[in-house]
Amino acid sequence: MTTKLMGQKVQRVEDQRFLRGNGRYVDDVAVEGGTLHAAVLRSPHAHARILDIDVEAVLDLEGVHAVFTWDDLASCTPQMAEPLPLLIPHPALTHGRTQYALAKDEVNYVGEAIAFVVADDRYIAEDAVGRIRVDYEFLPPVVGIDAARAATSLVHDDVPGNIGARLEQNVGDAPAAIAQAPHRLELDLTVERSACMPMEGRGTVARWDPDLNRLQLWTSTQSSTGVRAAVAVKMGLDLGQVDVITPDVGGGFGVKINHPWPEELLVPMAAKALGRTVKFTEDRREHFISSAHERGQVQHIEVGFDDDGRLLGLDVEFWHDHGAYTPYGLIVPIITSTQLLGPYKPQNYKVVFESLYTNTVIVTPYRGAGRPQGCYAMERTMDAIAAYLGKDRAEVRAVNFIQPDEFPYDQGLIFQDGRELEYDSGDYPAMLEKTKALVGWDEFPAFKAEMAAQGRQVGIGLACYVEGTGVGPYEGAHVHIETSGKVKVATGLTTQGQGHATVFAQLVADELGVKFEDVEVVTGDTRRMPYAVGTFASRAAVMSGSAIHLAAKRAKEKALKIAAEALEADEKDLQIVDGVVSVKGSPGTSIDLGTVSVLSNPLRYAFDEASKAATQFSVGDPGKPPVPEDDEPGLEGKDFYSPERATFASGMHAVIVETDPETAEITILKYAVVHDCGHLINPMIVEGQIHGGVAQGVGGALYERMAYDESGQLLNASFMDFLMPYVTEVPDGIDIDHLETPSPLNPLGIKGAGEAGVIPSAAVFAAAIEDAEGTLHPGMGITAMPISPSELYALRQSHDGKNS
C-alpha cells in the first residue's frame, strides 16, 4: 500500500523552478521586444481639485505611444469612465465611494492615478509622466482618525462627518450587564497602519489578439476570476473573450485581493487600442502610495466582570480608518468586530464601529484582515482584568473559554460572509495547557526574579485568537487523468507562495491512488477553471483542497467503473495503487489508469498505440452506445465545494521579551506558538506559514508604521524608511506545537492556516512589554501599537512624571 501523503512533510514541487531562476512572475511575461511599458502620473497632493491637465509636451517625446486621462476613458466604453466597482456592498455602507481608473476632477490621496502613459520602455514612459502639467486647487486634507472624526474638513463633500458606515451588533444587553457588574474597566487603545508589502508589487500584462477577438491578461492578483469579470464588464467584452492568467506571484498577503486596480483596466484598454502587448510593473514607491494599507483603528472598550474575571458584559466602540475610498466594503471592520471575541464567551456583547474616510491610501485586507486589531482589543482587556484582580493572566482567560463540549458554539453575530458566527470545533483549555508548557509560563516568575537579580527586566505575554477560515461561497476543481496516466488538476484560485501545487497534489495522490510525481496542479488560470473566487481568508486549502478531493473522488469512481468492466470484476473488489487498478488479492488482474483513460474515450481515429486501443473496431459492446447514457467521454472528475459557513481555526502565542531599563531597547527572548488548523496536510508548509506570520507580526508590533504627515504625504514610502524585519529583527527560533481538532464541515477535517501567525502579535507584545516594565514603572499600560524603543522611553517619562 502506498503511504498516505496527507500529514507528511512533502517537499515542494514548485521549488525546482524557483530555485533555478525559472519562476514566471508577471514581469517575466512578454519580455520579448515589442512589448510596450506603462507608467502612471500620480497625485502629489492628498486632496485637490484638478483644474487642468496638459499632456501636450508628452506627445513630442520619441518612443511615447499614447497618453490617457479620464477624458479618454469613455472612448473605450462608457463604463470605463465610471467609478471602479464597489466589490462588497453592505447595507451599513451607506456612503460607499470608489475612485475612477484615472482621476476625474478631484484627487483624494497622494498616489491616486491621474494619467497613464504607454511608451517603448519604462524609462521613456516615466520621462513622459514627468512632462505632464496639472493645475490643482488645493483642498484641506483629512489625515488620521482624529481629524476624520472631528470632520472639520470632509474627504468627500457629500459624505457628512467623513462616515462611510456605522454598524452595530448586540448580543444581550452589554451596557446594562456592565452597569450591574461587580467590577468595571475602561480601555482606550490605538493601532497604527501597516501594509502587506509583498516583495513583488502589482503588475499586469495584456495582449489583444485580433485574430481570436480575444484578450489575454496576466496579472499579479489573488483573484483571477474577479479580475476577469471586472475587465469584461468595463471593456464591454463577453466573459468568454477574456482570459486571465495569474502566473507566479511574489507574495500577496491580502493586498492583491482588491481588484480591479486602475492599471488592471488601463493596461488591457491600451493593449486593445494600440494593438500591442502592454505591461505595467509598479515600483516600490508606487506600491506604498497607490496599493492599499491596513490596521489603523482607535478603540474604546468598557467591560464588566465578576471576582473570577469572568466577563459579564463587553461594550466595544471603534473607529476604523478606511482611507480615501471603500472598494472592499466593510470586510476589515466587520472582522474586527466579530473575531474580537476570540475563544471567549462574553455573555453580553455590544459592538459599534464607524468606518471613516481620510485622504490617505485605501484600506483593504492585510493578512489577518482586522483580526489583529480585534485580538488586541480583547487580549488587552483580559490583561487589564487580570491586573485589576491581581490574578494570573492565563487563569482569567481560562474562566472565559468556550468549553470543548459546547461546540458548535454560536456567538450570535453575523460574520464577514453574511452567515452566523458559529464556531465548528476547538479545544481551548487543552491549547492553553500546551502553550503554557511550551513557553514555560509557570516557571517564568522564577526566571524573572533571576533576571531581576542581574539588573535585567523581562516580561511574558500571552494572546489567544480564533480565526474564521475557509469562507465561501465556493471553489471548484477539475481532475483529468490523461492516457499517459499523468493527472492534470486545475483549480481557479491563485497561489502566492503557499505551495498549492504540492499540497493539492498530495490530496489527489492520496484519493486517486496515483504517484505524487504524476500529479500536476494549475491554479489561477481562467482557461482551465473559470469558476472560482480567490485566495484570501485562509481559504485555499479548505476550499480548493476540499473541491480537489471531491473531484478526485469522482474521477476515481469513473475509473473504477470502467476498470471493473474491463477486468470483469466488481468495483468493490478493486484498488488503485501507484496508478494501477487491480483486483484486491490478485495483483495479476490489473489495468493501469492510462489505459482506463484510453477506454473512457471511444475514438474513431488512431494516432498512437494507446489511441489504437480505443478505436471503434477495438472496444465496446456493439449492442450499447459507445458512451453510456448520462456519461461523458474522458476520464475526468469535476466538483465544487461550498460550505454552509466558515471553519474556525484557533491559536495561542506567548512571548518573552527583555526591555532595557536605560535605553528601552526591546529584545525577543522566546516566541511560542500553539496552533490548531485541524488536520495538517503538510506540516512543513503550515509551519512555514506560521514563521512568516510571526515575522510580519513582529514588524507590525515593533517596527512598521505608515508615517503620514499632516498634509497627507507618506514620509516613509521606501524600504529605507519603512522598517520591515530582516533576520536580525525576528526571533532566533520559533517554538511551535500543534493541536488537531478536525473541522466537521469539510471532508478532510481541515481549517485554514495562512493568516494565523500574525493575528496575536500586537496583543502579545504589548502584554509582554507591559509585564517587563511593571517592576520599574508600575501601572504603565501599553495602549498604542506599534511601539518603538523611543516611544517606550517617552512613555516611561510621561508615566513616571504623572506618578511622581
Partner: protein, 163 residues
C-alpha cells in the same frame, strides 16, 4: 534620441553584446535585454536584495549598477548557480530541503548572497549563518528556514568537498 552604448556583458560564462542607454540599470539589462528573468527587482533602491548578483564574485545589487558599468566584469546570476549537469547546486538544494522559500521572489538574491558567503566562510557558526543573510528581505518565511538552509548548504558543500 537617447545615445546608445555598446556593452559586452559576461554572464554565467556566456558573452552578450547589447546596445543600451547609459541609464539602463544592470537589473533591467539582465532581465529585459538578456531575458534572464531569474534576477528579481523588489525595491529598486538597494535595500531588499532580491536583485543581488555576483559581480566578479562579490554580491552586488543589480538595481544599483548601470549596465554600462558591468563591461569587463564576470557576472553570475541565479541561473548560473545550477550545476553543469542541470542539477541543483548546494545552496539551491538546501533551500529545497529546508523549505527556505515560499513565493520565491526574494530567493535568487538569497541564493547568490549565500553562495558568496559560504565561499568566504565555508563553516559558519549559527550566528554567522544569520549574519550572512542579514542584508536581504523576505516577507514570506520569517527567515527561520533560510538560516537552516545556510547551515544545510554548508553541510552539503562540506560533504561534497570531502568525497
Amino acid at each position: 534620441m537617447e545615445e546608445l552604448h555598446d556593452v559586452r556583458l559576461s554572464v554565467n560564462g556566456h558573452t552578450h553584446e547589447i546596445r543600451v542607454p547609459a541609464r539602463r540599470l544592470l537589473s533591467d539589462a539582465l532581465r529585459h535585454d538578456l531575458r534572464l528573468t531569474g534576477t528579481h527587482v523588489g525595491c529598486e533602491h538597494g535595500v531588499c536584495g532580491a536583485c543581488t548578483i555576483l559581480v566578479d564574485g562579490a554580491p552586488t545589487r543589480a538595481c544599483l549598477m548601470f549596465a554600462v558599468s558591468a563591461q569587463g566584469s564576470e557576472i553570475t546570476t541565479v541561473e548560473g548557480l545550477t550545476r553543469p549537469d542541470g542539477s541543483l547546486g548546494p545552496v539551491q538544494q538546501a533551500f529545497m530541503e529546508c523549505h527556505g522559500l515560499q513565493c520565491g521572489f526574494c530567493t535568487p538574491g538569497f541564493l547568490t548572497t549565500i553562495t558568496a558567503g559560504l565561499r568566504d566562510n565555508p563553516t559558519p557558526t549559527h550566528d554567522e549563518a544569520r549574519d550572512m543573510v542579514a542584508g536581504n528581505l523576505c516577507r514570506c518565511t520569517g527567515y527561520q528556514n533560510i538560516v537552516k538552509a545556510v547551515e544545510r548548504a554548508a553541510e552539503i558543500a562540506g560533504e561534497e568537498a570531502a568525497s
